[in-house]
Subunit: 170 residues, 2 copies
């Protein structure tokens, strides 16, 4: 049974009555989310292109890889390509899926598809009015240092950059 | 301005009217969450203790590091210790904070404090009725393989195990 609490612009909130595998029946709050694509744009010299973006939920500006929500029925790779161009003004020749992560499976079904984007070609940034960000280019080892010292705290960014860094070690 | 949509058992949903740094005024849906602690419990021989847990939002069982929500005002380290014993039946002599991550800053303020837990001593597991999980012990390199091939997709688990793995390389 699903009790609808809220249908919003981005999220839908329901209370689902669920029978667990141990036959316990409980009401669970669940935030339904359309999902998103994110990418680690990396140049041939190993420079990663991040954004420093204002996030109300985080109380200020945070470092992130470029990302954006999926439109209904949209191919995650096309979403990645669209967001890459809109947010940082690049096209990529190659998109390699790194992982499709569950951001917070305790209360939301959000999945973020994270790609490595290579073969970068400069085009034109086109920000939405509600996107407040600056583009920041950093060497991958510096990004790793920032992940380890706590300057980068966004989960998708940490996962994506660590997956790319690890693949350079193999 | 904050419009209250829902106050639930775990989450609170609001619509916040926000002035962005570029002076755009927008309504943002935000899911307030109490936060959580998670830990990478690792034995001296490099074995990591994971759980394979039923998650309704993920549609089934997923691999995760042990974790649990913060009680009001609770020290994240004490929360980690409590959850470690409840979920997998271990106490740890040492907790090292790896990072406090933002799981999904586009729509929630949830922070998960991730610790490395070492000096493990076996005690007694005490699961809640709504926790359906089995304990799975795996060597850290095998965990890394599962992160890379997509068998492990939970963000906090990926971040925590990656941070521990990279610290072994340094």
């Amino acid at each position: 049974m699903v009790k609808s609490i809220y249908k919003g612009r981005v999220i839908t909130v329901n209370i689902d009555t669920v029978r667990l595998p141990n036959d316990t029946i409980i009401d669970l709050e669940i935030v339904r989310h359309p999902g998103a694509s994110a990418m680690v744009p990396i140049k041939e010299d190993g420079t990663v292109i991040l954004v420093r973006q204002f996030r109300h939920a985080a109380g200020g500006f945070i470092y992130e890889i470029p990302a954006g929500k999926l439109h209904a029925g949209e191919d995650p790779k096309l979403c990645a390509a669209r967001e890459l161009e809109e947010e940082i003004g690049y096209r990529a020749e190659h998109y390699t899926l790194l992982s499709s992560i569950l951001t917070a499976p305790g209360f939301t079904d959000e999945v973020i598809h994270i790609y490595k984007a290579t073969g970068l070609i400069k085009t034109q940034q086109r920000l939405d009015q509600d996107e407040v960000l600056e583009v920041v280019e950093l060497p991958l080892p510096e990004v790793m240092t920032m992940i380890h010292d706590g300057r980068i705290r966004d989960a998708k960014t940490m996962v994506g950059c660590q997956l790319v860094f690890f693949s350079t070690l193999r």
